[in-house]
Amino acid sequence: MTAETHENATPRGLPDWVWYAGLPLAAIIWWALYSQLIPFSEWVTALFPVDRNSHTGEAIAFFVYDVPKVLLLLTGIVFVTGVLRSWFSPEKTRVILAGKRQIWGYPLGAMLGVFTPFCSCSSVPLFIGFVSAGIPLGVTFSFLIAGPMVGPVGLGLLYGLVGWKIATIYLVFGFTIATVAGLVLGRMGLERYLQDWVRELNTGPVGDLPEERLTLADRLKIGALQVREIVGKVWIWVLVGIGIGAAIHGYVPEEMMLRIMGGEAWWSVPAAVVVGVPMYTNAAGVIPIVEALLGKGAALGTTLAFMMSVIALSLPEMIILKQVLTYRLIAIFIAVVSAGILATGFLFNVIM
């Protein structure tokens, strides 16, 4: 810990040219590693004294292919996102959204939710900052739903592990749910269900923060710090998720999957949501499970519903928001978002 603090406290890090030269170099290394994933994983699998086509062999192959792949993808996505997000901040977003009472405040809120950097530990000050600046409650909700729901990590991994078609479907429907749920919540006039002190709060004019001038090298550095912080934090979720995915891939029989998560079983969609909401993991942990489920023939709608409820609705976040929202408002919030997820699940089970 002390070492880390001191490293951060170095007045100047690497000179700028190292960042500019290092970027293409890192990209080439990344690409070279990524292109060798299949031979690498087959080579590692062959080291185990098991039949490649047995249940265990399949599970091992899945695991050793997915771990380096997900970690590489995660590193790349977090870096690019970190750099892009350095152009955004909650303060700027608030200025853009303040006073946007018209209908397009909702999709705009959802879009900014994807690009604005914020961590769940500052959800409360962010929420208060938005509401007290006159941003409608519904738009604030669109922002808060879209952030995790269509976050770049989930989308990027979905693209890399499952394919662009499903990633696009997820993007479109995740975004639509965030927009429509915000709109519905906004129309319900829920301001009276905020905690009393929040309603009475008036933060007054915002102290104008001097805008920090950043060079491109500074932004690259922000991206690299993000990688260290986020990958350092979520890798354990990734391993657990891939472990579960590997077990499903290797051992769960297809006919059982079809019975439980197939399109025929109408109750599978609400069941997926009920199971998914209390589950708390990073998007990076759930996508490998999604990959394995789809590979075994789980219905797309059911799987989407599961993924959305795991990522977008999490109990820890609700507990944090409890400080500003009453239970009643939290319940309405969960109900509206779940309704959107259920609708998406049923729709895809019917049309696919």
Partner: protein
């Protein structure tokens, strides 16, 4: 003597930020009073929407993420 307020509900980054302020003050040989604000209401009232936030003598100088060490020294010695 300068008064520095570090705003944050108590996540790891906020603690690191507080330590960075102390380290920077020590390095510059400045007497600095560091106050940690963890109450959500006070954080929001100060206009901080992404934590950690740092205010020097009542003026907000930084929000969101760890501050740059060189800039931090600049704020403290200004």
């Amino acid at each position: 003597m300068k008064t520095v307020k570090v705003y944050g509900p108590g996540c790891k980054r906020c603690e690191t930020a507080e330590q960075m302020v102390k380290d920077a003050a020590q390095k510059l040989g400045l007497q600095v009073e560091v106050e940690k604000i963890t109450d959500q209401k006070s954080i929001a009232m100060a206009g901080v929407m992404s934590t950690p936030g740092i205010a020097v003598d009542g003026k907000l100088v930084h929000t969101g993420g760890l501050p740059d060490a060189a800039k931090l020294e600049g704020w403290l010695s200004a």
